[in-house]
Amino acid sequence: MIRRFWRRMAWIVPLACSACGETFQSALQPAGPHAASLARLIWSFTAICGVIWLLVMLVLLFALWRRHRPAEARHERRATAIIGAAVAATVLIITGLTLMSYAATRGLSDDAPDPVVIRVRGYQWWWEVTYADRRPERTFVTANEIHIPLHRPVRLELTAADVIHSFWVPNLAGKQDLIPGRNNTLTIVADAPGTYRAQCAEFCGLQHAHMALPVIAEDAAAFDTWRQAQLAEAPAPVTAEQAAGRDFFTAGPCSACHTVRGTSAAGRLGPDLTHVASRQTIAAGQLPTTRGSLAAWIADPQTIKPGNNMPLVPMTPDQLQSVSAWLASLR
């Protein structure tokens, strides 16, 4: 019986740990100094608390083993001394942990010189991302995907449009809330290239779980190339189908909520779609960006992500084809 239990555990523990090996969303796989200091904090806390737990268990076992001894006055005095020492040790350890925690979190909001400034505004249930620049015309709006250069501090200015959200990209930093009417900041630095998944970490309604955001860390050259490409207006349609899609988009209800720079569509309620096809996912990490998923999303957004604010716009199959063709061309 007992052997069977241990045999099972031998299977289950490595299985459970296997999820920790994922690098794209794990606080234990830090990819930057802030996350690393948090990871160190987690490991230190775990180690210290583990040691204390072991000690407590040993003392408990010792006490159980010696319980037959009759009580005497000198034992009372010794017990008082031991309890006093334990209380003092507890105070010391808790103070130490508090100081460690303080030191680690203080470093998170350091005002680094010359950061990349990204304003993130949380919506139900997607992220509006504005790349700010000292030169206003180099400021642009995108959505649901953040690109950051390696080794350079990135200051995120976080706010929300409707309810409280929380920005959490575990590989790079801790959580920070997005609160309507307030501006919170969070500085992140990535030292390892890769795609890290951020997730809303404050319950914000029906689709809270489906409010993700890929954070792509890449070298400075690739970042600059990406940024330059995002600044450009949407490419002109190449095929007749794409042109028909653009015409439907700008004339119909789509343009009431979405902006595509370079066309007359300038709505500000939904994600900016100027370069939607350049993003890895649509609908805040819900679907990979393909022409098929774009069409599926447009055809019935309420079935893919029930409760979101994108309405089902009635379209003929031809219109759906052409709009998805055009959007898929907006690289």
Binding site: T130, R135, P136, T139, F140, R182, L269
Partner: protein, 569 residues
């Protein structure tokens, strides 16, 4: 033009924004309107204007005829002053489109008379010239796209056979423009927007700006986030002044769109400042940024006029701009250099003028950001002076006293930017706004330009939204929102005469001489806005927040405006 006539024309210019006033009869200032005769003023005409909208314009007297243009849908009347009972000589009703009704609610209707033509603009974007004698249409052109929320703002200004017009649609995300038409044919001579690339704005080699010395191209585009300039606003604001010496048109530009400031990072040029343009080509000569990245949607509103005055010992012709942001600017018209700027009302939004840049220093406590309410911003919308539309609420300067008479509002406001969404032809504002204040919420401020402080002020329960008329005889006429039309002594502000017109006054009083030689003053009553019966005052944000700050303003029993003419016996 002989020098003497020029001088008297300039004085008339000072009497308000009635620039087109160049008619021979109007140019003579009646000397009899002075402190001694003021109590003897009697109403000789009270003619209904048949519309309940705001009468924010002025009438024009030319020869023996008085021309009045009603609020939208416009109707032009030529009233014979030389016949008993003042019959209507002719009237003309231009074709109107109902779609423009809401948009045209607050437009300024002042016409212009020049070379035998009566020129005026309508709420649906038409610029029209009539024969002043017969009322027959000489030409009629469309110069603004009402379907996008653009309207022709402010009175036409006639300069050397050109009709200067400005368009505005700041609250609809329309790039406002300045344009010139040929007065004889109505043909468009030039048109330049106030936001966008240099080619659109008319910025070329002749452009200099004292405050913005770097010569980077396309600043009307690069001071906006990518693409945002296309809905940038910046229409005509504060009227147009013609500087004869430098042959410059000087005009204010409106606020940037939308009101929500964090989606338009940058200085948002060329909104909320003063432009000088060459009258022949429309090319920009200089620009003063008054409120870069305007947070409170005030624009360079208020009044703009030229005055000849002693400035530090020399006699100079200078620009006086009492601005919506609460400062009086003294500006050199040659290059736009700001010589002096001081607050004429209590201001909390800014803490003073930066001597380096000439722009106001922001008060960080009055910063605004989306979804949070900032309380106690002074001045409140639509500003410390002016009625929110170009040419309304003009100040007047009297060379004899050296005082600038400013119709001021002392209202403050609470302001909460909200998510703005651009839909063509619908408002692109994005803000909750309520004004706040307790009496006195308005004042007639006599601003001593030489020493930059008020000489005196007459406090009023409600903000002053109409213009001020200052006569050579030393009388200052102004109207109040609760319907009083008053005459004060230009020297000390004592109110010498007043008349209850029955409806609020937001128009520009005008002085002229009747054909029998008597001095007369004309003013239009009818305030629109909060007096509009369609406003429910239980909503504090109604009527741009006036429902809160002016909650106790009684609606008129009869909202129809009237033209009043007062004369000395």
């Amino acid at each position: 033009m002989p020098r003497a006539v020029l001088r008297s024309t300039q004085i008339v210019l000072l009497l308000g924004m009635v620039m087109a006033f160049a008619g021979p009869a109007a140019a003579a200032d009646p000397p009899a309107l002075d402190a001694a005769s003021a109590p003897r003023l009697r109403a000789i005409m009270a003619l209904p204007t048949e519309r309940s909208g705001a009468n924010s314009g002025a009438v024009v007297a030319a020869g023996t005829t008085l021309f009045v243009v009603t609020p939208y849908p416009q109707r032009v009347k030529a009233i014979a002053l030389d016949r008993p009972g003042f019959p209507t000589r002719w009237s003309y009703t231009p074709p109107s489109t109902p779609e423009a009704t809401a948009l045209a609610a607050n437009m300024v209707t002042t016409p212009a008379v020049a070379d035998g033509r009566l020129l005026f603009v309508t709420g649906n974007g038409h610029a029209i010239a009539l024969d002043a004698q017969s009322g027959t249409v000489l030409w009629d052109t469309i110069q603004a796209d009402v379907s996008q929320g653009e309207m022709l703002a402010g009175p036409p200004l006639v300069v050397d056979g050109r009709v200067i017009l400005g368009s505005q649609g700041d609250d609809f995300g329309v790039r406002g423009a300045m344009l010139a038409l040929d007065a004889a044919s109505g043909r468009r001579l030039w048109r330049y927007t106030n936001v966008g690339p240099d080619a659109d704005v008319g910025i070329g080699g002749g452009f200099r700006s004292v405050a913005l010395p770097n010569a980077e191209p396309d600043r009307g585009l690069v001071t906006w986030p990518a693409g945002a300039w296309q809905q940038g606003g910046g229409g005509l604001s504060a009227g147009v002044v013609y500087d004869t010496q430098h042959e410059l048109l000087i005009h204010g530009t409106g606020h940037p769109a939308p009101w929500q400031p964090d989606v338009r990072q940058g200085d948002n040029l060329w909104t909320s400042g003063l432009f000088a343009r060459d009258v022949a080509t429309g090319q920009a000569r200089w620009f003063d940024p008054l409120n870069p990245h305007d947070l409170y949607a005030l624009g360079a509103g208020g009044s703009l006029l030229q005055a000849e005055l002693d400035w530090h010992g020399t006699r100079r012709t200078l620009l006086l701009h009492a601005s919506a942001n609460g400062y009086v600017y003294v500006i050199d018209p040659a290059d736009g250099r700001i010589l002096d700027a001081h607050a004429f009302v209590p201001v909390t939004a800014t803490t003073g003028i930066d001597p380096e840049t000439g722009t106001p220093q922001r008060n960080p406590a009055m910063d605004v950001s989306t979804n949070s309410t900032t309380r106690g911003i002074c001045p409140g919308w639509p500003g410390a002076t002016g009625g929110g539309v170009p040419g309304a609420g003009s100040a007047a300067f009297l060379p004899r006293t050296g005082l600038l008479y400013i119709p001021a509002s002392l209202l403050c406001m609470d302001f909460e930017p909200r998510q703005a969404n651009y839909l063509p032809g619908t408002p692109y504002t994005g803000a909750n706004l309520r004004t706040t204040g307790t009496p006195p919420r308005g004042a007639l401020i006599a601003w001593d330009v030489a020493v930059a402080r008020p000489a005196w002020r007459v406090e009023e329960a409600f903000p002053l939204r109409g213009g001020v008329l200052a006569t050579e005889g030393g009388l200052v006429f102004y109207g109040t929102l609760d319907g009083w039309f008053k005459a004060a002594d230009a020297g000390d502000g004592r109110v010498l005469w007043q008349f209850q017109t029955g409806a609020g006054i937001v128009s520009q009083p005008v002085a002229f001489t009747l054909p029998d030689g008597r001095a007369a003053v004309a003013v239009l009553s009818g305030a629109g806005g909060l007096a509009n019966p369609d406003i429910d005052r239980r909503d504090a944000t109604a009527a741009h927040g006036a429902a809160n700050g002016l909650r106790d303003l009684q609606p008129p029993t009869d909202p129809i405006g009237r033209l009043y003419v007062f004369a000395l016996p």
